[in-house]
């Protein structure tokens, strides 16, 4: 983000307990965290709770984010999804913040590159067979297990598994057209 402090610098200030750094990070990433939570939960109150929880966790454990493990935005998006699904399934948090390691080739701190990557993912979702996309969305946004998806759609378990994997492979190809993935 040109003209603004890098995420790493904000995290460093957060570690020394500066509330201003927290405010800046919130303004930068709360729309993303909230959007993910709202998409999963479809309930503004519950999404606000997740938003609050994710940022409180970051405040309490700023060391849990390690820049070597990925950039902050995607990391927060993944954490938001995990927490939203935990809320949806009324269970205790299943994932430790420290356990989430993210590898993305695109430089997502660069807004142009981020926009391009997001556009590629959207296009790939749009292009894939509907059943494939639906299987992926049920797993990703609704947090359903493949067994639950099979029960809901009436399809064999193996088909559901294959569809989900095919959808992820298509996503990977869209993001790395020349890559090996």
């Amino acid at each position: 983000m040109p003209g603004t402090p890098a995420d790493a610098a904000l995290i460093a200030r957060l570690r020394s307990g500066e509330p201003d750094a927290m405010a800046e990070l919130y303004d930068r990433y709360s729309p993303l965290v909230y959007a993910v939570a709202l998409r999963v939960l479809a309930d503004t109150g519950a999404a606000e709770d997740v938003l609050q929880e994710v940022f409180m966790q970051l405040w309490r454990h700023p060391a849990s984010f390690d820049a070597r493990r990925g950039s902050l935005g995607p990391w927060l998006a993944v954490i938001a999804r995990h927490r939203a699904i935990d809320t949806l399934r009324k269970r205790r948090p299943q994932t430790d913040l420290e356990d989430v390691v993210i590898a993305i080739e695109a430089d997502l701190e660069d807004s142009a590159e981020r926009a391009r990557a997001v556009e590629q993912v959207r296009a790939s979702l749009h292009a894939m067979p509907e059943q494939q996309r639906k299987a992926l969305e049920m797993a990703f946004f609704e947090g359903m297990t493949h067994t639950e998806i099979a029960a809901k759609t009436g399809e064999p378990l193996g088909t559901v598994k294959t569809r989900i994997r095919a959808a992820l492979t298509a996503l990977r190809r869209a993001l790395n057209p020349g890559g090996k993935g």
């Binding site: 020394s16 405010a23 993303l32 993910v36 606000e48 409180m56 995607p74 992926l136």
Partner: protein, 254 residues
């Protein structure tokens, strides 16, 4: 996908959190030992993150920001650390004095107890020392080659070979003394035998050679405890002793 093919499908489901049951354990075990699959999982998480980034919608309401600011105000992380530190240092001397006082009382009590125990031990030690001195004195007399050994027999009869065994079956302690033993041929030895009460085979109880005057002593040879003896006997055996006695018997208990 570069992960191991047999795990690729499960790994994708695992990243999504859609895998259940034993398959989760199996994937996690594999991840622990496979760097390639860990890398693939990180890439899958990256795909998930990008998928999450495609979501868009209304901005969070202003009240959410206020709520967070309020919660942060209630949780002054750095301030609390400072306060906790200050409290600790303020109370440290009190704790230290308290701990010292308790420690001093405990030490004083322990000291008195140890003094009593030491007195008792000192008395025990003196008694033991006296007994040891007496035993050493007795042993010295029995084993000293310069001590005079005199065998008394009925007047006007020739001294005959004789032996005396003192045996305690409970702990297998044995002392054997013999006198007037004829000298041995080269490569021969005397051997003492325990004749068990229940008619079992004679048990070797040690070999010995007499001095030029025909006196010999065998003290505390290694014996099995708890064997009742009917009597003892002495035979002449080849050097080193035998497993069974060779007849005739030189001496036998009455």
């Amino acid at each position: 996908m570069t992960a191991h093919e047999q795990f690729a499908e499960d790994l994708a489901l695992y990243a999504l959190g859609s895998l259940g049951g034993e398959a989760v354990d199996s994937v996690e075990r594999h991840l622990e030992e496979c760097a390639a699959c860990r890398q693939e999982l990180a890439r899958l998480e990256g795909d998930m993150a990008l998928l999450a980034l495609t979501t868009s919608g209304p901005a969070p309401p202003q009240r959410a920001r206020q709520r967070l600011v309020k919660a942060l105000g209630r949780e002054p992380r750095s301030l609390r650390t400072v306060l906790m530190r200050r409290r600790w240092w303020t109370l440290a001397p009190v704790f230290a004095s308290l701990v010292l006082a308790i420690f001093a009382i405990l030490l004083w009590r322990e000291n008195a107890r140890q003094r009593d125990r030491m007195e008792a031990l000192r008395a025990d030690a003196a008694h033991n020392q006296a007994m040891i001195e007496e035993a050493k004195h007795l042993l010295g007399l029995l084993t000293d080659p310069s001590a005079m050994h005199v065998t008394l027999v009925a007047a006007q009869s020739k001294p005959q070979p004789a032996g005396k065994a003192i045996y305690m079956p409970r702990n297998g302690a044995l002392v054997f003394m013999a006198s007037n033993l004829p000298p041995l041929a080269p490569a021969k030895t005397y051997e003492l035998w325990l004749m068990p009460m229940r008619g079992d085979k004679p048990m070797p109880a040690g070999t010995f050679k007499p001095d030029p005057q025909g006196n010999a002593m065998l003290m505390m040879p290694p014996m099995t405890a708890g064997v009742e003896a009917r009597t003892f006997a002495v035979t002449i055996e080849p050097e080193g002793g035998s497993a069974t006695p060779t007849m005739p018997m030189v001496l036998v208990g009455s």
